[in-house]
Structures are given as structure tokens and as C-alpha cells.
Amino acid sequence: MSARSLDLKIYAFLIAVGIIGPWLVPSITSQMAVMWLMVLMAVTWDMTGGQMGYNSLGNITFFGLGMYASAVVQIGLVYDVMEYTSAFGAIKVDFTVSQYWTGLILGIGAGGAVATVFALLVGPFMLGLRGPYFAIGTLGLAVAVAELISGWRYVGGGSGISMPIFPGEAGTGSIVFYVMFFVLAIVCHLVIRAVYRTRFGLAINAIRDDEDKAEAMGIHTTRYKVLAWAISAFFMGMAGAIFGNMSGFIEPLEVAFPTATFGIFMVAMALLGGKGTLWGPVLGAILFHIVKEVTWTELLGWQWVALGAIIILNIVYFQQGILGWAQDRWPSLFGVTVDEKMSRTGQTEAAE
């Protein structure tokens, strides 16, 4: 079975699940929407973390920035943002249907744009850091942006912004956002899959393997690194814009930039599925989301503790992830040819 036809089968399966899902069990539509969001997060994180070897702990920044950008655009079209946020609850919020939809579409675009511009601006600086310094630096970036936004009175500071309410019946809203997340996740995965097959994919893999050698071979490493980060940022920004509308309320430290929740989920999901593989993050995200939802309902109160334990177990005892493990076990199934002699010398080198 060639890799291509396998990919097509998986896509067909996922699209079928995505379409049938909300018809079959309409009660969990919003949880399934979050599942597609998780898939998107894991896949975009894996682009820099898995394929490029730059493990970011701060990709959540783009998510939050997208959320805030869309909020400012959507509200700014109708009200004065400053007035809207300071008179919290005093203004009677009233968006007409056409205002809502224009705002939503422009807001999603703005979310993606702002996140991309931010990634392009800070990318050259942050991506100069290596290894753990990059991880800590991006973590610091995420915390810094969250703190700055929660001190910025124009966007409501720490008390947050409440988003325009979806016009129409209560059930339709979650379906609409579900479809948006679903389409975005599939488009994102297709784009990333296409991108990995070009020279770009080879270049970022070369950066992962040995950045200095890649640079010596004439690859503009900084350009590729920033570009990869910006692609992740673009999709994360759009996802943030949609999520802000879905949850209806934005708060910098709890919803928009929560490094302790989504920020670490995406890393954990990519690692669970197997980082650096095309389908690992998707598998990891779906499994992780199911496990998370089950622990949420079964272990109320203990869910976060359980989550920490899951992350530790995953990272400490099962680091290469499900697909990574399977690839090690049955390499021929994944179309990977292993030269036994080469891999043995590789192992001794790694042990040095």
C-alpha cells in the first residue's frame, strides 16, 4: 500500500467522521469542534516542533492574538472598542445579522493576519535561540504578551471582552463553528502535507537534523524557520478568532493565553501521537481529546492533576509517541527503509 493511497483513505475516513459526527450525536457538537481545534493545534505545533526541531512552548500566543484581533475588528465595526470594554455590560449589545457575519469573516482574516505579522516580527529574534533557550524564550513571550494584554485597558484589561452573540437559534451556532473548525483543520492539514513535499519540507527537516550544516549547504535557515513559524501562526490565529466567537468571552489569562492548558496541550498531543510524522499529531490530538473529556467527566476536580500525570507519563515513559513507536517496530509498513548498519552506528553516535 503506497503512502499516497493510505493518506487518501485516512482523509476520506476523517471527512466521513467529521460530517456524520454531528448528525449522529448532536449533543457533543461543541466538544467535537474543540477536537478539530486540537487537531489543528497539534499539526501546526508539529511543523516547528517536530519537523523543524524547534520546540516552542509559546505558540499559544498566536492563538490569543488572533482571538483579540478578531474581537477588536468585530466590535470596532459597530462600537467604539474602548467604550464597549469600559462600560462592561452597560451598553446594550446589539449586532444585526449582516453586521455579525461581516464582522466574523473580517475578524477571522484579521486574526490570521495579526498572528502572522507578529510571527514575522519576533521570528528572526526568537528563532535565533537554540534548544531549551528557544523553549523558555517562547514560554516567556507567551506569558509576557498575556500580562501586557491583561494590563491594556483598551481591550478590557484583565476583565476581558464579551464577544457578539451568534444571531439565530441556539443550536445553529455550535454547528456553524463546528463546520468552521472542521474545514480549517482539514485545509490546514492539506496545506501542510503539500508543503512538506516541496523543497521547504526538506529544508526544515535539514534544519532539525543539523542546522549549522544546513546553513553551510546554502539553505537560508532563518528565512525557512521564520516562514514555518509564520505558517503555524496564520492557522493558529484564525483558529483563535473562531474559538473566541465560539466561547463568547475572552479573558487574557484564562481563555486567550493559557500556557497551562492549550499551550501545553498542543505539545503533549504532538508528542503522544509521535512528533515529526504527518499523521501522529492528528492521532495524538484525537486520542488526547477523548481521554481529556473522559477524565473531565469521571474525575471532576482531579482532572488537571490527572492531566499533569498524563503529560508526565507520556513524556517520561513513552516519548516517541504512538506512531513513532509503530514506525520503529514495523518500519516497512510506513515505507521507511532502515539500513541496519547505518542505524547501529547512528545509535552509538547518539549514545556518545
Binding site: 512552548l57 529574534f125 535561540l129 523558555i136 500580562e147 503533549a268 499533569g308 508526565i312
Partner: protein
């Protein structure tokens, strides 16, 4: 913002007050940062759970006040308890990430920090707590300095000197320093490096726990405050350079002073942002130093 700067110039006593308060707080930062430098240097583990260990120690002091025990009495107890706790953490988690690549240790300790944070949240609730020590305030002319800050700086100094003497004179201290220099050679020479690693991590946890007791006495603790303590330790160690103990001390005091001034000038809501911005700044400076170094090599 500019108003606050002009206040500093118009009333120099404010500036002096902020400086002294910053120095007094800096002593506690030095403790946690020293623990991080120890673990980083010896085991090459970047411990992101550093802040949570501090906060855990703080909650031990808080629990002691609930039982009507003075928090200073809780200090040695916290030291011993956190030592055992650190040893257990080493056996369960850190042991398996010591030899792996560095991001693994970073992420594993991040998971650990999440675990401790949420357990504390579950047990003690999300409210901000303090362990009331009940000392007064020292009035020196126009300056008002809480006595507890001076006492805690003294305790921190005693602890730090004790640890330095231990590292210098005891057999285990020598083993730790030997392992830091070359783990393989140390193993060849008959040092049980596994035990050394366990001891180092346990010692780090104990230092953090004692620092946490001091933090709970002079400041406040809350389950989610750990991350900022971790970030502070990282700033100090990164700015000082690894294995540079005087540098750690200077950077620790410097950070305390910077935080106090930044909190005053930019407003209290930006104090944490100022700390984190400093982290990013320090990393950037290191990066450009690295670029210069590479230029020379070429």
C-alpha cells in the same frame, strides 16, 4: 508612567526604599536560582518545576501557621520534607530524563509543575495566602522596613553559606562537583552518579522549599504563582552564566531591584511583564554574544 519616574527624583527616599526592598527580596531569588544552577550544571536538567517547589514550601509554612506553629519553625521541617519529596520525584521522573535530550527534561518538569500546581489548587484553593510571621516594622528615619524581610534575608544567607560549605567540604559535595565536571570520569572513579543525581535534585527541592517558606512569610503564595518564580530563576542563571556563583548572587539582587523599580514605574500590573521582558532581553543579549563568537570562529 512619567509621573512615577518624577516621583522617584522628587522624593529620593522612595528610590532608596525601593532599592532596599528590592535587595531584601533578591536574596530569596538567589536561593531558588542557586538550586536551578545546581541541577542544570550537574545533571543538565532544566527544571521548570522550580517555582512550584518554591510554592510548595510556601504552603508548608502556611499549613504550619494553621496549626499555630511559627513559620520560621517550619523552615527546617520544610527543608527535610522537600528533600525527601525531591528524592521521590527524582526516582519517578527525573531519573528517566537525565540522559535524554534537553527538551524532554524541560517538558517533563513542565508536566510536573502542572501536577503540583493543580494539586495545590485542589487542596488549598486558588486564594492568595500568606504565612503571618508577626514581626513589626523597623523605622529608620524616613524608611520603613519590615523586620521579617531582614530576618528572611539573614536566614537565606545562613542557608546559602551552609550549602556552599557543604559543597566545599563534605564528601557528597565533592562527588557532586566531580560529577558536574565529567559524569563519565566520575563513574569510572567509583562515584555512584545515580545517587549523586538523586541527592542533587533532592537538595535543590529542599533549597526551593526553604525559599518558599521565606516567600510565604514576606510575600504571598498562590498555586499559579510558580511559573514566575521559575522564570526568575531562569533569568538569573542565564544572566549569570552557568557555574558562576558570584554572578548568580549579583543577578539575583539585581533582579529584585529591577522588579521593584519596574513595578513602581510601570504600575503593579506590569511588574510580571517586566520580569518576563527581562528574560527575553537577557536571552537576546546571549544570542548576539553567540553570533559574535561564531563570527570570530569563522
Amino acid at each position: 508612567m512619567l509621573d512615577n519616574i518624577s516621583i522617584l527624583f522628587e522624593a529620593p527616599i522612595f528610590a532608596v526604599d525601593l532599592l532596599i526592598q528590592g535587595l531584601l527580596i533578591g536574596g530569596i531569588f538567589v536561593l531558588a536560582a542557586y538550586g536551578l544552577a545546581l541541577v542544570w550544571g550537574v545533571m543538565n536538567v532544566k527544571n521548570l518545576a522550580q517555582g512550584e517547589l518554591v510554592i510548595l514550601g510556601g504552603y508548608l509554612a502556611y499549613q504550619a501557621t494553621l496549626w499555630d506553629i511559627h513559620p520560621i519553625v517550619a523552615l527546617p521541617v520544610a527543608f527535610a520534607f522537600m528533600f525527601c519529596f525531591g528524592w521521590v520525584i527524582y526516582l519517578v521522573i527525573i531519573k528517566r530524563v537525565v540522559d535524554r535530550d534537553m527538551f524532554t527534561s524541560l517538558l517533563a518538569t513542565f508536566g510536573l509543575s502542572l501536577l503540583i500546581q493543580q494539586s495545590l489548587n485542589l487542596v488549598f484553593g486558588p486564594e492568595v495566602r500568606i504565612a503571618e510571621a508577626g514581626f513589626g516594622t523597623l523605622i529608620l528615619g524616613d524608611l520603613a522596613i519590615p523586620v521579617i524581610r531582614i530576618v528572611s534575608l539573614g536566614l537565606a544567607a545562613v542557608l546559602a553559606i551552609g550549602i556552599i560549605l557543604f559543597m566545599r567540604n563534605s564528601r557528597m559535595g565533592q562527588a557532586i562537583r566531580a560529577t558536574a565536571q565529567d559524569p563519565r570520569a566520575a563513574r569510572v572513579l567509583g562515584i555512584n552518579t545515580d545517587r549523586v543525581y538523586a541527592f542533587t535534585y533532592a537538595l535543590n527541592a529542599a533549597i526551593c522549599g526553604s525559599a518558599g517558606v521565606l516567600v510565604a512569610m514576606i510575600w504571598n503564595i498562590q498555586p499559579y504563582y510558580g511559573l514566575v518564580h521559575s522564570i526568575r530563576s531562569f533569568i538569573i542563571v542565564t544572566a549569570a552564566g552557568l557555574g558562576n556563583l558570584p554572578g548568580v548572587i549579583i543577578a539575583g539582587f539585581g533582579l529584585g531591584v529591577w522588579e521593584n523599580y519596574a513595578g513602581f514605574v510601570f504600575g503593579a500590573e506590569f511588574a510580571i511583564a517586566a520580569v518576563v521582558a527581562l528574560l527575553v532581553g537577557v536571552l537576546m543579549v546571549r544570542l548576539f554574544q553567540l553570533y559574535r563568537l561564531r563570527q570570530v570562529v569563522r
